[in-house]
């Protein structure tokens, strides 16, 4: 069971700020594929992965990173703070 968080337009497109996901996905990319297969709103949110960033347990990571041991996955657009 992984906690999945969405921010900014990913949150808006998916319609949720967070959810618990039962998954056996080995990598972030596998999880994205699983979610995208679920419903159109996920497929739409993840359509252009070049504009999506991922953090694993609150550290920036990449789509090929393994999910083993990870409790929290967050998806969001490139950051625009400051």
């Amino acid at each position: 069971m992984i906690e999945v968080l969405y921010f900014a337009w990913l949150r808006e497109r998916i319609g949720l700020p967070r959810e618990r996901v039962e998954t056996a996905a080995a990598t972030v990319a596998d999880l994205v594929a699983e979610l995208s297969a679920r419903e159109d709103r996920y497929a739409l949110a993840f359509a252009d992965l070049a504009s999506v960033r991922v953090a694993l347990d609150q550290e920036l990571s990449s789509f090929d990173a393994p999910l083993a041991g990870v409790r929290e996955v967050a998806f969001f657009p490139p950051m625009t703070g400051g």
Partner: protein
């Protein structure tokens, strides 16, 4: 070395004054303040979303790095989230060092990292509706110099 994330407005003047007065060994204090531009009256508000938990971790790591690299006497980061109005301060960075080169470099480093590596997202509200601010290529490129 202090970090404050808050929804409430802050006064850069009061913050800068208190920061400078707390310094004993520093000869140089640099502040950067980001303001909500009103875009010629087109902008009615800005909303800033962030990732509680990760924000503190990411900025704390940047501050530790800046402190070590430029032997800072002190540093302060304040960043707002939630709803902001045109003209209000979005965030500020203050750095104190013995000499100006270190204070400037550390402030620019913190700004470059905050822009592209701290989990904040800005949405602008105007006459034509709301829009998420797009990341600028120049901001990502700025990181390569550090």
């Amino acid at each position: 070395m202090r970090l404050r994330l808050q929804a409430e407005p802050f006064a850069l003047g009061a913050e800068a004054q208190a920061f400078a007065e707390a310094q004993a060994g520093a000869g140089a204090v640099v502040t950067f303040t980001g303001l909500v531009r009103d875009n010629a009256g087109q902008l009615s508000a800005m909303e800033i979303e962030h990732y509680p938990g990760m924000t503190e971790k990411a900025i704390g790591a940047m501050m530790d790095q800046a402190q070590a690299r430029w032997a800072l006497e002190d540093a302060l980061v304040i960043h707002r989230h939630g709803r902001l109005l045109p003209g209000e301060a979005i965030m500020m960075v203050a750095t104190a060092a013995r000499h100006r080169a270190e204070a400037f470099a550390a402030a620019e480093f913190l700004m470059d990292y905050l822009k592209s590596r701290a989990p904040f997202w800005k949405k602008e509200f105007g006459a034509d509706g709301a829009e998420w601010v797009a990341a600028r290529d120049a901001d990502e490129a700025a990181l390569t110099r550090w």
